[in-house]
Symmetry: C2
Subunit: 597 residues, 2 copies
């Protein structure tokens, strides 16, 4: 059955806890819960059956910890295929015409840089479970209780690349509202939903009441259905037993409220029983939900989301990690010394960059090997999202796979070859992409040609199923000293592209002033103008103080800095002193973060 | 007869020399030529008659030096009324149905600051001649051979305010193309044509061939017919007699060519005789001329014209001479110490201001007395045009009278009272005026209200006969910290006003950043934006280096700095050094001058 079809008519209900139910039925601390699929299939069946009888529309297989790496601690790695097969078959038998979700929990070891697990190791382990689960007849995959969005991404890609299963992914959050690895609910959704998920959500974590805020935040940005599976309140120990602190009636009422917060699928996690699910089912029965498609442009790192568009500050994309025209950096990259890159990353973040462009294009290097390595390292030392900038499509894809968050790909153009090569990667990994308004006819001559090229990119993207909000059109600033009217054409194009196509816009500032003295004045003036024509993002050197100062002012004038708060915070004078801060932007690194929602 | 009616069909011809003709007929060096009107009316008549017989459409009375001040040297001041009366009557008798122009030459003494003659003294002397001439039956006044545009202005105002005579004014230029006082032909036309003249032009100076360039320059900017009266070539002494070096045939052919350069009235000056005029008349007979109305906005000082509009650099109007919020300057003005004003004038000109705003509004001073005094002094020490900024309409008018050049009046608004009080002054003195888009309903709420107020000002101005090119609309930049969307509304208004009304635009930068730290960043960003929306002029502190730097760059980007020449000249590095000039604009003070034509 396709549960997502049913969703159109009514909220649907997942089952409740498996682990705490197994403990009630005799599972001891230190025993492998998943081995019960082989040793006590009757007990597992009984639990599933009682959830079906309680009215669950979907039950989850007893495979939460069933992966080769975790099973190693029980010396059961070789049993993995058998365990998964049995688990799915038991659930299948109990489910009748209801759906069986293959539960895929975390590997149980931390991924780099928090631990030693590599992306490829996690991916392989997840792929094995997914393949076995599909073979045994699971209806969908439920990647659950995730804390690391990169681990979740490995699991999602493993499912999508190796099976035809639909996939849901739920994250678990701590009391501070972030996952163990620091990801907030908005960033989790922004980072993962584009990877081909059919639903996303939150499980475990807390009781239903405290989950409301997380669900609301997810719903603000989610373009797919939201699944919420709270615990039966908060756990506490009583007489040596773990008890949960709310009743099934409270659970049912509070969990129902999560539907109003934006969830359309609910169920239970730790401490919930078939009784909880039965009351919940009764409570939510027949609830309908309009799905509202969210329109916004956003990119993310592990810990923050940057929104891009007219209602947000202009997104400052640091341009400094780029060896073009930089002899020292080129040589260092060629010699395998990346410290200059890491220094630039840290420095640009400190100077106020919201996103960092990473380009390592030096002739003679193995970009496919180096780009993912450098991207991984850069994302470990800064908190801002990354923009992967390369003309090597394979290098782009390899880097995109290992990004913790939603990156920007720089770039696709309106050239046929570029559209065909780059857009499938954008679609598959749910990234944003810069759409360069160059076509097979060359550079655009005027605003109308820029618009035409932008239209072509947007249309092609839509044909691939890419939401147009993920496209950021680069209206191309040409060298003003060689073609003076080009600057105004770029400005006109920014306005046209935004108003006619409804997509965000970006420009790079490096070309426009080429060949002129005091280039920063030209760059800065053009940036102020562009902001007034609706520019949403700029690829810029955040170390140009005058450019950043005027950009900050431009945000005030274009109402992108609401109530001038950001500007005043940046420039307000300390008591008695009359000095401008050395870095004009030091104080605002968190302004464009996900806490705006 | 109304010669200006005839002009529609054909070029018309003035007579030739009187002075050199009188010398031939016996006038000796040291004799008063105008006294011949009383002593030898027959000789004067004979000369007039021979010009009429030669075909002149207009003859000029023998009154070139007939003013009370000049006649004093002959002890003939008291004879002035008699001399003028006789001169006009003689000419009248000779003229038949042809027209008699009352010749009004320079006073013969230099005006302040070049000499001691005051505006009022000159004005009174001219008024006396004009009144007597009109009474005696002259058809029009020909103010001629002027070197000082302020003396010309005194004469024009004397004629217009005291008689109903039509008026023509001709200037005389030296070999360097400027008058003795430094005025170029473009500046002469820009400064004088709006004072109610019916024609303007050039006389004496040179032979007709060398006059072509002057006539062309005048024609580029003149909205009224042009009169050209060259000498019979260049003078040289032969056997103790002054001879002129071209033949009457050469004269006729070359002077005819001045019609192609833009003149529509021709005649002769020194050395020409009735023979010259006869051949000239035959040469130009029946020549028709399309009058092309020139559309441009310009203001002028004694020595330069500043054009304002899309094809020119943004006009930088220095805002510093304004006591508002300046305690020291207010106190100095109140004490009658104007040195601070003169310092600011010099400093702003040096920093690149193209026009200086002069506001002395301090409570308790006699602005009507002080404003003309300060304006006179400021124009004596700087070369740039002035903007007279006052809420006291009588102070404005008194200052406007004594400006050497065409000033800007700051300002008229869309309030009924303001329109009624200010526009008549703009019309009478042919000034430019800033049209403030405030109405009786108060500050404009959005771009459309600004447009509506601008429309009202333009319509009222047209009703007064003011060309709309003389209106510069201030789209009003409000304080962004108190109303954040206002900045974008001002930008929209600039675009609307320019495109819908076809007039130039200006803003003042002082309000927008009020209440915010680092105000120059806000001012600068807004200025760059405004330039990209079509702003033509800005009232600004030219001592804000960042503002001037970004303005210079903005002119490159908006194609107002053709081929980036101005920018490159300002910022190009000297060999070996890498420094920005301390003053970013020092080198460009002459860029927006009349030599662009
Ligand atoms: Zn749980
Ligand atoms: Zn659970
Ligand atoms: Zn002459």
């Amino acid at each position: 059955m396709d549960i997502f079809e049913n969703l159109k008519n009514s909220a649907i209900v997942f089952d409740g806890a498996m682990g705490t139910m197994l403990q009630k039925k005799g599972l001891k601390t230190g025993e492998c819960p998943e081995y019960y699929n082989l040793s006590h299939p009757d007990i597992v069946y009984e639990i599933h059956k009682s959830y079906i009888d309680a009215g669950a529309d979907v039950i989850e297989t007893n495979t939460f910890g069933a992966n080769r790496i975790k099973l190693k601690s029980y010396n059961l790695s070789d049993k993995l295929p058998e365990i998964v097969k049995s688990a799915v078959q038991i659930a299948r038998k109990a489910a009748g015409d209801k759906a069986v979700a293959l539960s895929i929990g975390p590997i149980g070891e931390l991924m780099e840089p928090f631990g030693k697990l590599t992306f490829d190791e996690a991916y392989s382990a997840f792929a094995e479970v997914a393949v076995e689960g599909e073979k045994a007849g699971a209806d969908l995959a439920l990647i659950e209780t995730m804390s690391d969005i990169l681990e979740a991404k490995a699991a999602i890609l493993a499912v999508k690349e190796n099976t035809n299963l639909k996939a849901i992914c739920t994250m678990t959050f701590q009391e501070d509202g972030r996952t163990l690895m620091g990801t907030d609910p908005v960033t989790a959704v922004v980072s993962l939903q584009g990877l081909g998920l059919d639903a996303i959500g939150v499980n475990c974590s807390t009781g239903p009441d405290m989950m409301a805020d997380i669900v609301k935040k997810m719903a603000e940005v989610s373009r797919i259905p939201i699944l919420a599976q709270p615990n039966a309140g908060m756990p506490h120990l009583e007489d040596g037993k773990t008890l949960y602190d709310i009743t099934k009636e409270q659970f049912a009422v509070e969990t129902k409220k999560l539907l109003e917060c934006g969830a359309s699928i609910v169920g239970g996690c730790c401490g919930t029983t078939p009784e909880f699910i039965k009351l919940l089912k009764a409570e939510v029965h027949g609830t309908e939900k309009d799905s509202i498609v969210k329109k916004y442009t956003a990119v993310s790192s592990n810990t923050k989301t940057i929104f891009i568009g007219s209602d947000y500050p202009v997104c400052i994309i640091g341009e400094r990690i780029n060896p073009t025209g930089k002899k020292k950096l080129s040589a260092a990259i060629r010699e395998g010394n990346f410290n200059l890159i890491y220094d630039e990353a840290l420095s640009q973040e400190k100077l106020g960059a919201s996103v960092l462009d990473v380009n390592i294009g030096v002739p003679g290097i193995n970009e496919e090997e180096l780009m993912p390595k450098i991207i991984s390292q850069v994302q470990n030392i800064v908190n801002v999202p990354l923009q992967i900038d390369s003309s090597n499509v394979r290098a782009i894809e390899k880097a995109v796979r290992v990004v913790r968050g939603k990156p920007i790909i720089n770039s696709v153009s309106a050239k046929e070859k570029s559209l065909q090569e780059v857009l499938p990667i954008v679609k598959k990994y749910g990234t944003s992409v810069i759409g360069l308004t160059i076509s097979d006819d060359g550079l655009p001559k005027n605003a109308d040609e820029r618009l035409k090229n932008a239209e072509k990119i947007v249309k092609a993207a839509l044909d691939y199923g890419i939401p147009k909000e993920d496209i950021i059109i680069d209206c191309i600033a040409l060298t003003v000293s060689s073609e003076q009217t080009a600057a105004m054409e770029t400005l006109r194009a920014i306005n046209l592209v935004k108003s006619k196509l409804g997509v965000s816009t970006v420009i790079g500032l490096s070309n426009i002033s080429y060949g002129l003295p005091e280039r920063q004045f030209i760059n800065t003036a053009f940036l102020a103008m562009a902001v007034s024509y609706g520019l949403d993002a700029v690829i810029v050197n955040p170390n140009d103080k005058i450019t950043m100062d005027i950009l900050n002012a431009s945000m005030v004038l274009s109402s992108r800095d609401k109530r001038c708060e950001r500007y005043i915070n940046t420039y307000k004078k300390d008591d008695g002193t009359n000095k401008t801060p050395v870095s004009s932007v030091e104080k605002k690194t968190d302004v464009n973060a996900s806490d705006m929602l």
